[in-house]
Amino acid sequence: MTMTDFMTRFRRPDIGRFVRRQPVAALAFAGLSAIVLLALLAPLISPYDPLASDVPHALLPPDRLHWFGTDELGRDVFSRILAAARLDLSIAVSAVAISLVAGVTVGCFCGYQGGWLDRVTGRIVDVLTAFPLFVMAMALVAVLGNSIANLIYATAIINFPFYIRIARSEVAARRNLGWVEAAHVSGTSPTRVVLMFLLPNILPTIVVQASLNLGWAILNAAGLSFLGLGIPVPTPEWGVMVANGAHFMSSGRWWLVVFPGGMLMVTILCFNLLGDGLRDLLDPRTRS
């Protein structure tokens, strides 16, 4: 009942109102939906096999047959970008899902319990969030081996401390609020207080964070694969495509970088704008 309550509350800002209040975020949402749809339908709509090389037609500029041109092996850039969208989005979503679940669990527990455990966790997390985690992730992928799964774990680890921190601070900020104390007085067990009272109330903040983090996760995953980490060779991925294309920039083959790079930008931008819009919408200070 609480959950349905919560969902109705969450859905209440209806679509029309959302579009009027946050036109930019609504646009970003539409853009994201389009990208997700393209990624889902990639096998059906991509004009060529993203892996099939066609050397005679290598390095063709964009034309009617190859919308985004072809790469050094004659592979169709547009088809590869669609296939890559599938991969990049699933990497980002799985990485964020792992770090969200793990981080929120740890964060809620520590934030609610308090005490020395919480202080130690807090200190470690503070240090970790300011640490160059990208470097850590790089080493991790290199050591665990080049595979997509390891890339996901590494990306998840980069995001993990942020979720602990946000869940912890949100829970700790509410732990001593009147309505939580009231729940105790009403005979509510601590587990129930966390699950039914605190979690639904911090969820909006977490959702906003997740939306912003998805963009960041794509950026990190693409960055790692740009360096040649995580993605095995023929698999199309935006970061890898940019890295390959960089070699041909000197001879003016801009389309090999611009299109995958542009897709990265648009996707990250959409996630960020959506996150910002959601934050504004959920921020009680901007709510009328």
């Binding site: 309550d5 609020l177 009147g178 309505w179 105790h184 007085v185 005979g187 009272f197």
Partner: protein
Amino acid sequence: MTKPLLSIRDLRVSFVSDRTHKDVLHGVSLSVERGKVLALVGESGSGKSVTGLTTMGLLPRQATVTGGSIRFRGEEITGHVPRSLRGAGIAMVFQNPRAALNPTRRIRDQLSDVIRAHGKVDRAGLQARLTELMHQVSITDATRCLNAYPHQLSGGLCQRIVIAMAVACSPDLIIADEPTTGLDVLTQKAAMDLLLRLTRERDMGMILVTHDLGMAAQYSDDVAVMRHGKIVERGTPEALFRSPRNDYTRQLVAACPTATSLLEAPEATVARQAAEPVPLLEVRSMVKEYQNGFRAVDDVSFVIRPGECLGLIGESGSGKSTISRLVSRLVDPEGGEILFNGTPISTIPAEAFYRASQRRQIQFVFQDAAGSLNPRYTAYRSIVDPLLRMGPVPDGEALRALVVRTACSVGLSEEMLERYPHQMSGGQCARVGIARAIIVSPDLLILDEPTAALDVLVQAEVLALLERLRRERGMSYLFVSHDLHVVRMLCDRAIILRRGRIVEAGRCDDIFRAPQSDYTASLLEAIPHFSPGASV
């Protein structure tokens, strides 16, 4: 008849945003003379603060003056207050003094900034002015204060500094916007006395913006009562409070707790029980210590008999809220015993107390009513929740009927039950909080300043409601408050706390008639009041 120092004619102010246009002042007219204090009294949202800010030219960006005029010393300043006038002509004293000072700048520099903003002074002259100012606001260790940062000073000292800042450039008018909010009763009195003395000595005018009728009566020569952006009545405190002409003023005056006011409660349906052998609650030498060794509660003992209401009075930091949380078993004491109906309950750790059978018998009503309701629960769910957790749960229709009946008894209509906290007023939230506590029929209700955040009219209603409920249901109350008059109205006996210790305990009538400790006496003395003949 001298020319008024400040005269405001038909002032109109609106808040304009993209979609809304809200008038907050509908033609306010007033005037202030030299050496006189005008009090602007009203509940929150009445427009009294906006009037002060408009005069100062400090309205927020979205607010605009849509009509009327403000003349200061005969000069038109509406909508544009010259910088030379701010500070040197009109100065302002704000509430919450600690926040009103720049946290990263020494007091000396902040005061110097103000003095330098209105004229050139050399180092020696500056030092002389600073020393003089410190002397004027009765700060004895001037050197330490001047070299300190705001966080190193107490709230009372900060308020003196803010007052020193306000008078630094010899303004003719001071606007004091709730100058004592956030200060303790004793500090409050000192700050107000200081402001009044300076006003008289320097022949300034003062506008005192306050929600406290007692303070307005005691410190002003003239009172204007505001409501919904209008002045509904004005006159001398004597006239206004003795024989108010306006209905609203009459209600306000009646609702304000004084040394003599009584609660209008229906005849008792359950007679107050005589003292019984077994007290409902007994607290024996309870101690609460924080990690830094600070004793918030130090050797406190008291009893509450069935059907009795015990008042717990103290200033902030006296440990009264901690005691309420200890007794309601939200936190664990470091020492001592708590017996409920003769059974020790302090041995059950706080985090396991939700399972104890006594949980439903001890319920709590929180200070910040709106903040004590889960923002994602409707009023219905908030009220029904304790019942679902602790039972017994009547089935189906009976459950809803019980909730509606309980809501009715606290004065909430049935349609209110579907509202979320942010859709309800402070008074309605307070009623939901009370309904939630009484639905499980507790024996002991702990009330932690349940009316502190409410306007005076709503406070009166809630107090009457509490008194009626107690008589009807025969509950016992532990009533925590800083307001002595409220405690006297509601309670049979009271305890005065100071720094975690009991300084005085006894029957309310005795305490108020003949306080035994000096502290209680000074507390009683410091309450601003408008009992006949009290105004200065």
